[in-house]
């Protein structure tokens, strides 16, 4: 129990007749980076706002750092950092003033940490928020979320608007959080960063948690494209019936297909022909997710 940083049971939020999230059972372990994935409108932001007590659940319960957001919201927010998906800051204040204000509201934050993060993210804090680009505002938001070294960091689409170099800095900062034994819960639809960062991911579809997987497990299930180049003609029909094999095409002596899951049956079928070469492509999570959401997949947690 102590190792669960986020725990929800049947967490449900409806807006009148509109769906928010439905019966969400989620468990996030201490020290992991948990990716919370789903298309726009799936309920990612609603879930995060319920965890922060900005929204109140219709049914179900949530525990964050072992505490009830409704009763112990102040204690939870003291120990967590948050970057909203649509970050809004006071346009008339400078970056430094925003950080000072936040530090005061938190009862004090080590100044050296603010300076370190500002240096890593390469941002001039002396300019007013209204003069910042979207990316620079996002950098201020990241400093706000990380400067007090929270036990739990919740980030809603954190790399939105960041250039690739700064994204790398963010990835290193999140790795640092994990190394410290702290926890990151972040929503994203940028799959390469999910592959790069996450230990586990939860897939949200239409307000429901459709699957929770390790990234390694996802790759196992992921779709990969394979080409066999034979020394002679090959019949596509010999491959179409193999479980997990789709999009079988023959062009000359080359057989191309998409495979999901175990390759054993496919390799054995191909071995009946004289194989000159095999070309496999890196499993692509993006294709997996697209297929998952398109086909209404259901991979149990």
């Amino acid at each position: 129990m102590e190792n669960l940083v986020i725990e929800t049971h049947g967490l449900t939020k409806t807006y009148g007749k509109s769906r928010g999230i439905e019966k969400l059972d989620l468990r996030v372990q201490r020290g992991e980076i948990f990716g919370f994935l789903g298309p726009n409108g799936a309920g990612k932001t609603t879930t995060i706002r319920l965890l922060l007590d900005i929204l109140r659940p219709t049914r179900g319960t949530a525990l964050v750092l072992g505490l009830d957001p409704r009763k112990d919201g102040r204690a939870i927010r003291q120990r967590m950092g948050y970057l909203p998906g649509e970050l809004a800051l006071y346009p008339g204040l400078t970056g430094r003033e925003i950080l000072d204000y936040s530090a005061h509201l938190r009862g004090g934050v080590p100044h050296a940490e603010i300076v370190r993060l500002a240096g890593l993210l390469d941002i001039d804090l002396g300019r007013p928020i209204r003069a910042y680009s979207h990316g620079n505002r996002q950098k201020v938001g990241l400093i706000l979320a990380l400067m007090h070294k929270p036990e739990l960091v919740i980030l809603d689409e954190p790399t939105n608007g960041l250039d690739p170099l700064v994204q790398q800095v963010l990835y290193e900062l999140l790795d640092e959080v994990r190394r410290d034994g702290r926890t990151v819960f972040f929503s994203s639809h940028v799959l390469p960063e999910v592959e790069r960062l996450c230990d586990r991911v939860g897939l949200l579809r239409e307000g429901k948690l459709a699957a929770v997987e390790t990234v390694a497990g996802l790759k196992q299930k992921a779709i990969r494209r394979i080409d066999f180049i034979f020394d002679g003609p090959v019949s596509a029909d010999d491959f179409r019936s193999i479980p997990g094999v789709t999009e079988v095409r023959v062009s000359g002596f080359t057989l191309s297909m998409v495979v999901q899951g175990n390759l054993d049956a496919l390799i054995k079928a191909a071995a009946r022909y004289p194989v000159r070469n095999i070309v496999t492509y890196e499993p692509n999570l993006e294709e997996f997710f697209l297929a998952f959401y398109r086909e209404g997949g259901s991979h149990a947690a």
Binding site: L52, I54, Q78, P84, L87, A88, E97, L105, R106
Partner: protein, 264 residues
């Protein structure tokens, strides 16, 4: 000024307080400067005597009409709550609804500060801003009194400016409470404006009709205009009633704000 939500909110209001306080204060001084001319040869009393009884009733309980105190009361002070209500309602909505609509409320709610404290500090800043405007208006009238050589003590002018605070706070509290309780600004602005304008008109009509007499206390302006530091003296109970009603409006809004979803 960024040490807490109260000081940050007050900082946001600084320019508005100066504009409103010094703007109306300047108008007060300008009005006072006419008094010596009007009072020569009893022109003011003759002019007032020529006004219809109904119009005089609309101006409220104006005593010493020929004196500088009476002149300032019906020339300016009687209308001030209407003007200041515009500031109070706009400021209250800006402190709550605008923060929700622009998303900065999410910034505040992500900090270890309870909801009630966010709202209380903002409300305290609203009250302080209204107090500041009242003080500036009072100080301006004291300056005007000194310029025209009035024998009315400066403290009376300052108290006359401060007398606008409870009723302005009340209209601000109606807007603040509704902004805290309900999404969007139209309910808060509409209700507060209706109370301000409707109450003013009703208060003017009450002396003209015996049938309306029982509702005079309900116009709220009664608690402002029935006493005046310049003429009748101060009745602290009147101010206390308005302040109590203000706190009730704030408390009701806070109770709903504690329970409701703040963002969609």
């Amino acid at each position: 000024m960024l040490r807490n939500i109260f000081l940050k909110t007050l900082r946001d209001q600084t320019m508005a307080v100066l504009y409103w306080g010094l703007g109306i204060g300047s108008l007060a001084v300008f009005t006072q400067l006419f008094y010596p001319t009007l009072s020569v040869n009893d022109q003011l009393n003759k002019f007032i005597g020529s006004l219809p009884q109904g119009f005089m009733a609309f101006l409220g309980n104006v005593q010493y009409v020929g004196s500088v105190e009476g002149y300032m009361t019906y020339s300016l002070l009687i209308y001030l709550p209407l003007a200041l209500a515009i500031y109070a309602v706009a400021a209250a909505i800006g402190m709550v609804t605008a923060e929700v609509d622009t998303g900065t409320m999410e910034f505040l709610l992500s900090h270890p500060v309870p909801r009630w404290k966010i709202l209380l500090e903002k409300y305290a800043a609203l009250a302080a801003a209204i107090l500041g405007i009242g003080l500036l208006i009072g100080a301006s009238m004291a300056l005007g009194g000194w310029i025209i050589g009035s024998d009315v003590p400066a403290v009376k002018w300052i108290l006359a400016g401060l007398q606008t605070v409870p009723i302005t706070l009340f209209f601000g509290s109606v807007a603040f409470g509704l902004a805290a309780a309900v999404r969007g600004s139209s309910t808060a602005a509409g209700a507060a404006a209706t109370l301000a304008v409707g109450g003013f008109i009703l208060n003017g009509l009450v002396p003209l009709s015996v049938k309306l007499a029982p509702v005079k206390e309900w116009t709220l302006y009664y608690w402002y205009s029935a006493s005046s530091p310049l003429s009748t003296g101060i009745f602290p109970v009147h101010a206390a009633i308005l302040i109590l009603l203000s706190i009730v409006c704030f408390g009701a809004g806070l109770a709903v704000f504690q329970r409701r979803d703040i963002l969609p």
